[in-house]
Amino acid sequence: MRVRSLFFAAYRDLAGRGELDVELPPGATVSDLVAVVRRSAERLAGLPAQPVVAVNQEYAGYEQHLRDGDEVAFIPPVAGG
Protein backbone atom coordinates (compact mmCIF):
# COMPACT_ATOMS: atom_id res chain seq x y z
CA MET A 1 0.00 0.00 0.00
CA ARG A 2 0.98 3.59 -0.42
CA VAL A 3 0.58 6.43 2.09
CA ARG A 4 1.38 10.11 1.71
CA SER A 5 3.58 11.77 4.32
CA LEU A 6 3.30 15.54 4.83
CA PHE A 7 5.95 17.76 6.42
CA PHE A 8 5.17 21.19 7.86
CA ALA A 9 7.17 24.20 9.02
CA ALA A 10 10.52 23.20 10.59
CA TYR A 11 10.05 19.59 9.45
CA ARG A 12 9.53 20.70 5.87
CA ASP A 13 12.72 22.76 6.03
CA LEU A 14 14.50 19.75 7.46
CA ALA A 15 13.10 17.33 4.88
CA GLY A 16 13.70 19.74 2.02
CA ARG A 17 10.21 18.82 0.82
CA GLY A 18 6.59 19.01 1.89
CA GLU A 19 5.43 15.57 0.80
CA LEU A 20 6.74 12.06 0.41
CA ASP A 21 4.87 9.03 -0.90
CA VAL A 22 5.89 5.83 0.87
CA GLU A 23 5.29 2.17 -0.02
CA LEU A 24 4.48 0.01 3.00
CA PRO A 25 3.59 -3.66 3.48
CA PRO A 26 -0.02 -4.42 4.43
CA GLY A 27 -0.64 -4.11 8.17
CA ALA A 28 2.03 -1.43 8.66
CA THR A 29 1.57 0.95 11.58
CA VAL A 30 2.40 4.61 12.14
CA SER A 31 5.53 3.39 13.90
CA ASP A 32 6.61 1.49 10.80
CA LEU A 33 5.99 4.51 8.58
CA VAL A 34 8.05 6.82 10.80
CA ALA A 35 10.95 4.34 10.70
CA VAL A 36 10.78 4.04 6.91
CA VAL A 37 10.59 7.82 6.45
CA ARG A 38 13.55 8.44 8.74
CA ARG A 39 15.62 5.89 6.76
CA SER A 40 14.55 7.09 3.32
CA ALA A 41 16.91 10.05 3.04
CA GLU A 42 19.82 11.44 4.96
CA ARG A 43 18.09 14.69 5.92
CA LEU A 44 14.95 12.84 7.04
CA ALA A 45 17.08 11.00 9.62
CA GLY A 46 17.19 14.41 11.34
CA LEU A 47 13.49 14.14 12.28
CA PRO A 48 12.82 13.38 15.93
CA ALA A 49 12.67 9.67 16.74
CA GLN A 50 8.97 9.99 17.61
CA PRO A 51 7.43 13.04 15.99
CA VAL A 52 3.77 13.76 16.65
CA VAL A 53 1.70 12.54 13.69
CA ALA A 54 -1.83 12.97 12.43
CA VAL A 55 -3.48 10.35 10.24
CA ASN A 56 -6.11 11.82 7.92
CA GLN A 57 -6.10 15.05 9.96
CA GLU A 58 -6.53 13.44 13.38
CA TYR A 59 -3.79 13.04 15.94
CA ALA A 60 -2.82 9.37 16.01
CA GLY A 61 -0.91 6.93 18.18
CA TYR A 62 2.05 4.91 16.94
CA GLU A 63 0.22 1.58 17.09
CA GLN A 64 -2.46 2.74 14.66
CA HIS A 65 -2.63 0.63 11.50
CA LEU A 66 -2.44 2.50 8.22
CA ARG A 67 -4.48 1.96 5.10
CA ASP A 68 -3.79 2.55 1.46
CA GLY A 69 -4.24 6.23 0.62
CA ASP A 70 -3.85 7.51 4.17
CA GLU A 71 -2.42 11.00 4.65
CA VAL A 72 0.07 11.10 7.52
CA ALA A 73 1.24 14.52 8.67
CA PHE A 74 4.40 15.02 10.71
CA ILE A 75 3.47 17.76 13.20
CA PRO A 76 6.26 19.91 14.69
CA PRO A 77 5.63 21.51 18.08
CA VAL A 78 2.74 23.90 17.43
CA ALA A 79 2.95 27.67 17.82
CA GLY A 80 -0.43 29.17 17.00
CA GLY A 81 -2.32 31.81 18.90
Binding site: A10, Q50, V52, Y62, I75, V78, G81
Partner: protein, 147 residues
Protein backbone atom coordinates in the same frame (compact mmCIF):
# COMPACT_ATOMS: atom_id res chain seq x y z
CA UNK B 1 -20.79 29.28 16.89
CA UNK B 2 -18.40 30.67 14.34
CA UNK B 3 -14.99 29.12 13.59
CA UNK B 4 -12.58 30.14 10.87
CA UNK B 5 -8.98 29.91 9.67
CA UNK B 6 -8.36 32.77 7.29
CA UNK B 7 -5.62 34.55 5.41
CA UNK B 8 -7.62 37.79 5.42
CA UNK B 9 -7.18 40.44 8.13
CA UNK B 10 -9.39 39.66 11.14
CA UNK B 11 -12.29 42.08 11.61
CA UNK B 12 -12.36 42.20 15.40
CA UNK B 13 -15.57 44.22 15.61
CA UNK B 14 -17.37 41.60 13.51
CA UNK B 15 -16.09 38.77 15.68
CA UNK B 16 -17.29 40.67 18.75
CA UNK B 17 -20.66 41.47 17.20
CA UNK B 18 -21.26 37.79 16.40
CA UNK B 19 -21.79 36.94 20.08
CA UNK B 20 -24.10 38.34 22.74
CA UNK B 21 -27.83 38.01 23.32
CA UNK B 22 -30.37 39.65 25.58
CA UNK B 23 -29.94 36.75 28.01
CA UNK B 24 -26.20 37.39 28.38
CA UNK B 25 -24.67 39.63 31.04
CA UNK B 26 -21.06 39.08 30.03
CA UNK B 27 -19.13 39.36 26.78
CA UNK B 28 -15.42 38.64 26.61
CA UNK B 29 -13.09 39.30 23.70
CA UNK B 30 -9.49 38.10 23.51
CA UNK B 31 -7.19 39.15 20.70
CA UNK B 32 -3.70 37.86 20.10
CA UNK B 33 -1.45 40.45 18.49
CA UNK B 34 1.92 40.17 16.74
CA UNK B 35 4.43 41.57 19.26
CA UNK B 36 7.54 43.50 18.36
CA UNK B 37 9.66 41.13 20.43
CA UNK B 38 10.12 37.43 21.10
CA UNK B 39 12.25 36.10 23.94
CA UNK B 40 14.16 39.36 24.11
CA UNK B 41 14.79 39.77 20.39
CA UNK B 42 13.10 42.46 18.25
CA UNK B 43 10.65 40.99 15.74
CA UNK B 44 9.71 42.78 12.51
CA UNK B 45 7.10 40.41 11.07
CA UNK B 46 5.78 36.87 11.33
CA UNK B 47 4.37 34.24 9.05
CA UNK B 48 1.78 31.76 10.25
CA UNK B 49 1.54 28.42 8.48
CA UNK B 50 -1.30 25.98 9.09
CA UNK B 51 -2.16 22.41 8.17
CA UNK B 52 -5.31 24.02 6.91
CA UNK B 53 -7.92 21.28 6.81
CA UNK B 54 -6.85 19.78 10.10
CA UNK B 55 -6.55 23.18 11.76
CA UNK B 56 -10.15 24.01 10.92
CA UNK B 57 -11.28 20.68 12.29
CA UNK B 58 -9.26 21.01 15.52
CA UNK B 59 -10.44 24.59 16.00
CA UNK B 60 -14.03 23.42 15.66
CA UNK B 61 -13.42 20.72 18.26
CA UNK B 62 -11.89 23.25 20.66
CA UNK B 63 -14.83 25.61 20.14
CA UNK B 64 -17.27 22.78 20.80
CA UNK B 65 -15.52 21.84 24.04
CA UNK B 66 -15.41 25.48 25.12
CA UNK B 67 -19.09 25.90 24.33
CA UNK B 68 -19.87 23.23 26.90
CA UNK B 69 -17.93 25.23 29.51
CA UNK B 70 -19.65 28.40 28.33
CA UNK B 71 -23.14 27.00 28.58
CA UNK B 72 -24.07 28.77 25.34
CA UNK B 73 -23.09 28.42 21.67
CA UNK B 74 -22.33 32.13 21.50
CA UNK B 75 -18.65 31.72 20.71
CA UNK B 76 -16.57 32.90 17.77
CA UNK B 77 -12.93 32.15 17.06
CA UNK B 78 -10.88 33.20 14.05
CA UNK B 79 -7.20 32.41 13.48
CA UNK B 80 -5.23 34.13 10.79
CA UNK B 81 -2.51 32.58 8.62
CA UNK B 82 -0.02 34.04 6.17
CA UNK B 83 2.17 37.15 6.50
CA UNK B 84 1.45 39.43 9.46
CA UNK B 85 3.06 42.67 10.60
CA UNK B 86 3.68 43.82 14.15
CA UNK B 87 0.33 44.92 15.60
CA UNK B 88 -1.75 42.64 13.38
CA UNK B 89 -4.35 40.42 15.04
CA UNK B 90 -3.39 36.75 14.78
CA UNK B 91 -6.35 35.35 16.69
CA UNK B 92 -9.66 36.69 18.00
CA UNK B 93 -11.95 34.87 20.42
CA UNK B 94 -15.33 36.23 21.50
CA UNK B 95 -17.77 34.57 23.90
CA UNK B 96 -20.90 35.56 25.79
CA UNK B 97 -22.87 33.99 28.61
CA UNK B 98 -25.46 34.93 31.23
CA UNK B 99 -22.74 35.19 33.92
CA UNK B 100 -19.09 36.17 33.67
CA UNK B 101 -17.39 33.10 35.17
CA UNK B 102 -18.36 30.93 32.22
CA UNK B 103 -17.14 33.52 29.71
CA UNK B 104 -13.74 33.79 31.36
CA UNK B 105 -13.38 30.01 31.60
CA UNK B 106 -14.41 29.36 28.01
CA UNK B 107 -12.34 32.15 26.48
CA UNK B 108 -9.25 31.04 28.38
CA UNK B 109 -9.88 27.43 27.39
CA UNK B 110 -9.95 28.29 23.69
CA UNK B 111 -6.64 30.16 23.68
CA UNK B 112 -4.87 27.60 25.88
CA UNK B 113 -6.00 24.73 23.68
CA UNK B 114 -5.01 26.60 20.53
CA UNK B 115 -1.53 26.94 21.98
CA UNK B 116 -1.12 23.19 22.48
CA UNK B 117 -3.29 21.52 19.83
CA UNK B 118 -3.83 23.68 16.78
CA UNK B 119 -1.53 22.60 13.91
CA UNK B 120 -0.25 26.11 13.21
CA UNK B 121 3.34 27.28 13.17
CA UNK B 122 4.91 30.72 13.40
CA UNK B 123 8.02 31.88 11.57
CA UNK B 124 9.45 35.00 13.18
CA UNK B 125 11.50 37.49 11.20
CA UNK B 126 14.04 39.48 13.18
CA UNK B 127 15.78 42.79 12.63
CA UNK B 128 18.50 42.13 10.04
CA UNK B 129 16.38 39.66 8.11
CA UNK B 130 17.09 36.46 10.00
CA UNK B 131 14.03 34.25 10.42
CA UNK B 132 13.26 31.16 12.46
CA UNK B 133 10.37 28.94 13.43
CA UNK B 134 9.18 29.93 16.87
CA UNK B 135 9.91 27.20 19.41
CA UNK B 136 6.50 25.60 19.75
CA UNK B 137 4.82 23.33 22.23
CA UNK B 138 4.98 19.61 21.70
CA UNK B 139 1.63 17.95 22.25
CA UNK B 140 1.35 16.84 25.83
CA UNK B 141 0.32 13.20 25.33
CA UNK B 142 3.22 11.13 24.02
CA UNK B 143 2.41 9.85 20.54
CA UNK B 144 4.01 6.53 21.47
CA UNK B 145 1.39 6.12 24.17
CA UNK B 146 -1.37 6.77 21.67
CA UNK B 147 -2.76 10.30 21.71
Amino acid sequence: MYVQITSDPIQVSEVLASVGSSADGAILLFTGIVRNHSEGQPVTAVQYEAYRGMAEQVLREIAQEASERLGTDRLAVVHRVGDLAVGDVSVAIAVSSPHRAESFAACRYVIEEIKVRLPVWKRERFVGGEARWAPGRALAPSPAAGV
